[in-house]
């Protein structure tokens, strides 16, 4: 009896699971916001319009996009958020050999910085053909299109870096970029070629002086990267410069 029931359940599961023609969540997202390229877009939208499974997934995706805590959820959501924030800032504050020899840690490293993410993303997305995660079993990994890297897409959010760039004869004193009218402040980050952070700072101006300790690390022949993010009055990022590269000539 129980055996028959579990056999029936597994049959049902098979009938209701996504088929190989079904769209992945990423494809559904692309379909919903119109960013999916042809001919995949037409093929998938034909499928989705007749597939209850894909429509269910699309409904969930939309619910997720609009998910905001209701009155009965607010307390728990802020409790969880605070705990996550604390958990990750504790993790980042812990001593590690690579940190102590680099100088003082930032006063308040976010959990996200602690997780050490962005460098990875850009490294993989811009410098190599990233292999997408096989979110669904049985899907062969796809190779990212070189033209559709994270860098290229984010760069279109536009902030124009002015200097320094390319090969330099003299050590730079400052970083400069074109001001944006919608920016209340700018966050700047300077990195080594492997995205290891050397320095970061905040400013209201469209330029910032490089401190002596950082300049000491800009040695001839060593490539240096920098980026700037414009933020509005509420502290939200509104534009990004992309990663800029310069090097002091030998």
């Amino acid at each position: 009896m129980a055996q028959a029931r579990s056999r029936e359940r597994s049959l049902l599961r098979k009938a209701l699971s996504p088929s190989c023609a079904c769209a992945t969540p990423l494809e559904l997202g692309g379909l919903a916001d119109g960013s999916l390229a042809q001919p995949a877009a037409t093929r998938l939208s034909d499928h989705v319009s007749g597939c209850a499974r894909c429509q269910t997934e699309l409904t969930l995706l939309k619910e997720f996009e609009n998910a905001a805590p209701g009155p009965d959820e607010e307390g728990a959501v802020s409790w969880i958020s605070a705990r996550l924030e604390r958990r990750f800032s504790e993790a980042s504050a812990g001593p590690s050999p690579s940190r102590t020899d680099r100088g003082a840690a930032l006063p308040r490293r976010s959990w996200f910085t602690a997780l050490n993410v962005g460098g990875f993303a850009l490294a993989a997305a811009t410098l190599s053909a990233a292999v997408t995660i096989g979110l669904r079993e049985g899907r062969a990994p796809e190779l990212a299109q070189p033209s559709a890297t994270a860098s290229a897409v984010l760069r279109s959010a536009g902030i124009t870096p002015l200097s320094p760039a390319g090969d330099l004869d003299a050590q730079p004193n400052e970083l400069r970029w074109a001001p944006r009218t919608d920016a209340a402040s700018y966050s700047v980050q300077v990195m080594e070629a492997d995205f290891a952070e050397l320095w970061n700072a905040e400013t209201r101006d469209a330029s910032i002086a490089l401190p002596p300790a950082l300049r000491a690390r800009i040695v001839p022949g060593k490539p240096i990267l920098w980026e700037v993010v414009a933020k509005d009055a509420a502290g939200r990022a509104v534009a990004w410069s992309g990663k800029q590269r310069f090097r002091l000539r030998k």
Binding site: R9, L11, L12, R13, A15, L16, S17, L26, L28, G30, G50, A52, R53, Q55, T56, T59, L61, E63, F64, E65, A68, P69, V77, I80, R83, L84, R87, S96, S98, R99, G103, A104, A105, T113, L115, N116, V117, G118, G119, A121, A123, A125, T132, I133, L135, A150, S151, L154, Q189, D194, F195, A196, E197, W199, N200, A201, E202, E227, K231, A237
Partner: protein
């Protein structure tokens, strides 16, 4: 303005940090709706962010950050439900009570009878409303508990997903008995 020599290791792109922060509440809210308990939701959300970090190399600029985060949240949540064996048989019994005492009206039976997956999908498509289909698919296809479905789909009727499941099964049972009647006529 604060200038600090930053901590070592590889630097996080401030732009991506910002992008992720913007979607932070969605992930936490979603995990809470799946788990229904803040302690469990905390573990679940933490797992999502750790996985997001681990797979950041796979993030492609051609999909939205929120969609990409959703795909990770989705698979983490399904794994969580699977590992917890949260399939609510008690609720299933509730559903059964609301239905005529006919084992042949069970959806399992409907699908066994017409064991073609395509026929089963066509039957669902033709007979059920959009919400009934979604509840049916999530419950029987992904083993998502009815309470979780109620929260995820934001259903506001008094008994939530259960009501939709009951009406879906009633409809399928009716179709089935019509089929049986016509088979008898032909015989």
């Amino acid at each position: 303005m604060s200038n600090h020599l930053a901590a070592g290791g590889s630097g996080a792109s401030i732009w991506l940090q910002e992008l992720f922060r913007r979607h932070y509440t969605k992930v936490v809210t979603w995990c809470l709706r799946v788990a229904g308990d803040r302690e469990e939701a905390y573990d679940l959300a933490q797992g999502v962010f750790v996985k997001a970090q681990r797979h950041l190399g796979a993030f492609r600029g051609d999909s939205k950050v929120s969609t990409w985060l959703y795909s990770i949240t989705r698979s983490e949540c399904l794994n969580y439900l699977k590992s917890r064996c949260l399939l609510d048989d008690a609720l299933d019994d509730d559903v059964a009570e609301a239905l005529p005492d006919d084992p042949e009206s069970r959806p399992e039976h409907v699908f066994e009878l017409h064991s073609s997956v395509l026929a089963a999908r066509a039957l669902l498509d033709r007979e059920l409303t959009d919400t009934e289909k979604r509840v049916f698919i999530l419950h029987y296809g992904d083993d998502v508990p009815l309470l979780t479905i109620t929260r995820l789909l934001g259903l506001e009727n008094p008994s939530g997903a259960k009501a939709y499941l009951v009406s879906a099964r009633r409809k399928l049972a009716r179709v089935l008995s019509r089929w049986r009647a016509s088979e008898r006529l032909i015989a």
